[in-house]
Amino acid sequence: MALAMKAKKIADWKIKEVEELAQRLSETKTFIVASIEGFPADKLGEIRKRLRGKAEVRVVRNTLFQLAAKKAGIEIGELERTLTGPNAFIITDKNPFEVSIDISKFKLKRFARPGDKADEEIVIPAGDTGMQAGPILSTFGKLKVQTRVQEGRVFVVKDAVIARPGDPIPIDALAILQKLGVQPVYIQLKMKGAYQDGVVIDAEQLKIDLDSYRNEVAVAGRNSATLASEIALPIPEVLKASITKAFQRATAVSAEAGFVTPETAQAVFSRAVAKATALALAISGSVNLGVVPAQ
């Protein structure tokens, strides 16, 4: 009897959560699934804070989320596979890519653990460490950090770099870094997929390399400029490029044809000398004609 009562009570709570979540999902029609396995709870709180007004971070059991999605009429399809292990659900009404770009831009840091590599230069700053002098002094010594003892406490004589980005963090340093509050390792929330209004986005698609977009814009810009100048698009700036091209082509043709005029002499002889030099260099292994390759 008592047992049945308890079970029913939990079910109520679950039903409420599912209903509320379903309501929210049917409004936003958008969410991101992120793994929080091994992800520090306080950092998740930080993400939650930074996304405030833009997205809501909820830690919900997978089964409950699935129920809520279903209730909201959302067909999660492929995303079903992401619903294993501990997950957070980032619910938003924005473009999920925008939110994931935001999240990937947050520099979240944590304390170092054994086996970590430094993501940034780790410096033990000069000054009072606040630590009592004692066996810790030999640890500083191992790390080649110069110290002195003053009023019974350890003072670092000058800033000491103990790891550069990519270096393994010395295991001896971990306790010291913790005491000094240095968090040298970056953490990223691992996003497993997203959904928006019937569109399922997988983890791979969700990764946005902004540099490659910049590059594509640059290539598109250059292609456009090249095409515009080639057809002499009648815009003064474009025509400058067209004129430059036409001049360079005329120069190249004069040079190749060996057509000398005072105007083309430079190009013609440069071309001939370049060819002669190339040939002299090609046989320089057997005949030294005094020609040296340029740097």
Partner: protein, 69 residues
């Protein structure tokens, strides 16, 4: 440059670049189309092998990694 962007859009999509197609694209972008320029660009592009032209543009090293967003 709108006419060029529209043309390259059509080219990238392997569509024919003609006045109607250009007009459609430009209008969809909310651009008021100037018939005279339209004709001129469409005619000029007919004389050019766009793939060849782009090839020469493509060989230039494009490095823009460090541009701030």
């Amino acid at each position: 440059m709108e006419y060029i962007y529209a043309s390259l859009l059509l080219h990238a999509a392997k569509k024919d670049i003609n006045e109607d197609a250009l007009k459609n694209v430009l209008s969809a972008a909310g651009i008021e189309v100037d018939e005279v320029r339209l004709k001129a660009v469409a005619a000029a592009l007919k004389e050019v092998n766009i793939d060849e032209v782009l090839k020469s543009a493509a060989t230039a090293p494009v490095a823009v990694a460090a541009v701030p967003a």
